[in-house]
């Protein structure tokens, strides 16, 4: 796509470069004063100077020769780029006005900077022609700006800016759409990300820059307002030159980016002050400063082995090459286009990563849910429970019924918490107590539940104490009095909440291996799901049995 765009662009460039009119141009000469005869084709140009001098609030004349060598069919056109208001003469014939020149008595009506005139066929024979301008420049009495004269077919003169602006506006449209899209994306996403907003703003700035740059072709700006547009372009370029490196710093995760960005800001400010008034030069220097910053950033990113860094540096280098060969305006916009394309690419990489993380987290949540549900249907639990249950029913139907009730209660709680990621601590304790009741029937061990400092308003991921309890039942043997005690203690400080779960019994032989592996994985995954990066889990043998600690940091 990028290549097709380039080919189309070049095709336009080449077709507009094809000269249909051949001519030689000569330097203009100036004279302050006013004489209607100065418009004549043949005039003894005595006392005319190559230097305009300060004209202040006086009328001055400009005369220039041009030698038309050949031209194709169609009307000849003249493009004039000059400041002020003037009447234009071609071989002594007045062919147009731009604004209205003033006089000491009459105020000047300012003209616009670039104008196009059609030359009558009778006056466009090959040979030397004289262009004369009767001009005033009250708006900038002290400014001496050069005058530009160009000959071409009239149609070509009018059409060329149209083609150029149409291409640029296609680009501008793309930037506008991108800007709006990412703006909406920023405001409508769950997790607002600054890079998205910055990207949107950069796109908007590009859009404004293109719009301002090519505004001149269809809006008549009086020459007195000419520099306002240039000032706007300057500031737009300034902001872009600062924001683009910032965006890449963020995308490449460069730490201490301000060490790079602050000097960049200073350099840009220096360039602004130092080249004040030279708008094109400032803009060019801004772009160069940005280019340099981009090179540094992509070099760091390559060093850090960031994804997409190679593409960015390729884009940056390629745009430098383009800039060298192409006309300034094109070069700078191509550079920007490359930058935006690499930004888009980086953004998609990032989005892909975010999507991946999101789907991973969804997957993890559902896997954890499944694991929770499986706890009660895994064969080891259910079949051992059922076997004991049959035995109890056969021996004592009353006890059997009690057993069934406990089992039903545990199922109820499990069912209620299955889809939660956090549940009230009391619910978790009920679950544990029901489990102990069931295990009591199965193992015929007297299990005792104790708790200390429980705060009812606290929440906890489901079945994590339950998992610790299961481990405790598996790995502990009753003490001499035939009991195993379990104790849950809660403490809270301003910085953290802590659950300590102690299984007080005799540890089974160590060489039987701790099957805690899977259970601990479940606990860690649940803690990470609800308190990402803000938890600690420890579990170790203690003098009285087994002790586990869960710390949740605030």
């Amino acid at each position: 796509m990028k290549r097709i765009l380039l080919v189309v662009l070049l095709a336009f460039l080449f077709c507009s470069c094809k000269k249909q009119v051949l001519y030689e141009e000569y330097d203009p000469i100036f004279k302050t004063g006013d004489d209607a005869s100065w418009s004549a084709k043949n005039l003894e140009e005595k006392g005319w100077s190559k230097d305009r001098g300060l004209t202040a609030n006086r009328v001055f004349w400009i005369r220039a020769d041009t030698k038309l060598i050949s031209k194709t069919d169609g009307a000849l056109g003249l493009q004039v780029e000059a400041f002020g208001a003037y009447e234009l003469f071609w071989d002594g014939v007045k062919i147009g006005v731009n604004g209205k020149p003033g006089s000491p008595m009459v105020r000047e009506i300012p003209g616009t900077e670039a104008t196009y005139y059609q030359i009558p066929d009778s006056l466009s024979k090959p040979g030397i022609h004289k262009i004369a301008l009767r001009s005033t420049q009250f708006g900038y009495p002290k400014l001496q700006r050069g005058i530009g004269l160009r000959l071409d077919t009239y149609v070509e003169l009018i059409r060329r800016p149209l083609i150029l602006s149409s291409i640029m506006f296609i680009m501008a449209g793309a930037f506008l759409v991108a800007s709006l899209y990412y703006l909406f994306l920023y405001f409508n996403s769950h997790k607002r990300q600054y890079p998205v907003l910055i990207f949107s703003v950069i796109c908007l700035l590009f859009f404004s820059l293109l719009l301002t740059e090519y505004l001149k072709f269809y809006i008549e700006i009086p020459y007195t307002k000419f520099f306002i547009r240039m000032e706007i372009i300057g500031w737009l370029t300034f902001s872009i030159s600062l924001l683009v490196p910032l965006y890449f710093c963020i995308q490449f995760g460069i730490k201490r980016k301000y060490i790079l960005l602050f000097p960049l800001f200073c350099v840009l400010l220096f360039l602004y002050i130092n080249n004040y008034g030279h708008y094109d030069i400032s803009a060019r220097y801004y772009s160069m400063a940005m280019w340099l910053a981009m090179m540094i950033i992509s070099a760091i990113a390559i060093y850090k082995k960031e994804k997409g860094a190679l593409l960015v540096i390729t884009g940056v280098l390629a745009s430098a090459g383009m800039n060298y060969y192409l006309h300034y305006d094109f070069g700078i916009f191509l550079f920007y286009t490359f930058i935006v394309l690499s930004m888009l690419y980086l953004h998609t990489i990032r989005m892909q990563k975010i999507e991946q993380e999101y789907s991973d987290s969804l997957l993890l949540s559902s896997r954890l849910q499944l694991e929770l549900i499986k706890k009660n249907i895994q064969p080891h639990f259910i079949k051992n429970t059922l076997t004991s249950l049959i035995d109890w029913v056969e021996e004592s139907p009353k006890k059997g019924a009690e057993f069934i009730q406990a089992l039903a209660n545990e199922f109820d709680i499990m069912n209620a918490i299955a889809e939660q990621s956090l549940i009230p601590i009391r619910q978790e304790i009920h679950l544990c107590q029901m489990h102990l009741k069931i295990m009591g029937f199965r193992k015929e061990i007297h299990y005792v539940w104790e708790e200390d400092g429980i705060v009812e308003s606290e929440n906890i991921p489901p079945a994590i104490i339950h998992t610790l309890l299961e481990n405790g039942i598996t790995h502990n043997m009753p003490q001499s009095d035939g009991t195993i005690r379990f104790k849950l203690t809660f403490t809270k400080t301003p910085h953290q909440r802590q659950y300590t779960f102690d299984a007080l019994g005799k540890n089974r032989e160590v060489n039987e291996g701790q099957s805690g592996g899977n259970g601990f994985k479940y606990i860690r995954a649940r803690l990470e799901e609800s308190y990402p990066g803000k938890w600690k889990f420890m579990s170790a043998e203690s003098s009285q049995g087994w002790s586990s600690t869960i710390k949740i940091l605030n």
């Binding site: 064969p379 051992n384 076997t387 004991s388 199965r442 193992k443 089974r508 099957s515």
Partner: protein
């Protein structure tokens, strides 16, 4: 009859004990160990006839120990909740697999398999675990040539000519071996695939020549059934040949 129960659930262990006593009508000594380690320690000191083993013991994978256990002389009956492990257990040579929850009938069926001579297994056994110098080696059944009884042990004669001792007696092995193995003599079990020809010598003495030319005796009482078996498996030389001296 001596039975050991390795089961960490007290209630289930007691159920197994009660049902075993009922099955053997009291003629049984039952011991219960609530952990595998205790069970293995017990087996070091005592000899038993039947082991009732909970495969998922305290979370530790029972297969590690199943190999050790099936190499022993007693018959192993696995009593487990994890029925998906049954096939692997049979491959390793357990006599039966009783899924939980179980009742008296199902357990009795397993226990009677251990004591009866009737062979009614579908032959899932794939390996025989052999104890040698304290380590366990799995012998694939396809590697077996024939098995010779040697007192309370058996001698496994392998295709590569090597031998290995197995703690189970010939009767115990016969109960777990698949149909591809045939008892031809009170002291011999052969792999049918390795049998070549039945030789009849004067005085109605029958013997079997194996593919590796070894000759094994055929018991008079086993001859008829074995001949039918040979014909069934389509051995070209299955018809008896008179051998002249």
């Amino acid at each position: 009859m001596k039975v050991l129960i390795i089961e960490d659930e007290a209630r289930i262990a007691r159920r197994l004990e009660r049902m075993s006593v009922a099955h053997f009508e009291g003629n049984v000594v039952v011991n219960i160990c609530d952990s595998l380690k205790k069970g293995l320690d017990f087996l070091e000191k005592e000899s038993i006839d039947i082991l009732l083993l909970d495969l998922n013991l305290n979370g530790r994978d029972g297969f590690e120990v199943l190999q050790t256990i099936t190499a022993r002389s007693f018959q192993t009956i696995v009593v487990s909740a994890n029925t998906e492990n049954a096939l692997r257990a049979f491959e390793l040579g357990v006599l039966d697999f009783v899924p939980k929850p179980f009742d008296q009938d199902r357990l009795s069926l397993a226990l009677s398999r251990a004591t009866s001579v009737k062979k009614d297994l579908d032959g899932s056994l794939r390996f025989l675990s052999v104890r040698k110098n304290g380590s366990i080696r799995l012998v694939e059944l396809t590697q077996l040539n024939y098995i010779k009884g040697a007192g309370i042990y058996t001698e496994l004669h392998l295709l590569d000519g090597s031998r290995a001792l197995h703690d189970k007696g010939l009767d115990a092995l016969e109960k777990i071996l698949p149909p591809g193995f045939e008892r031809i003599h009170k002291s011999y079990i052969v792999q049918i695939g390795q049998a070549e020809i039945i030789l009849v010598s004067s005085g109605s003495k029958y013997s079997l020549r194996l593919k590796n030319t070894e000759i094994l005796p055929i018991g008079r009482s086993k001859y008829k059934a074995f001949r039918a078996r040979m014909e069934l498996s389509g051995k070209p030389h299955a018809t008896p040949v008179q051998q002249r001296h």
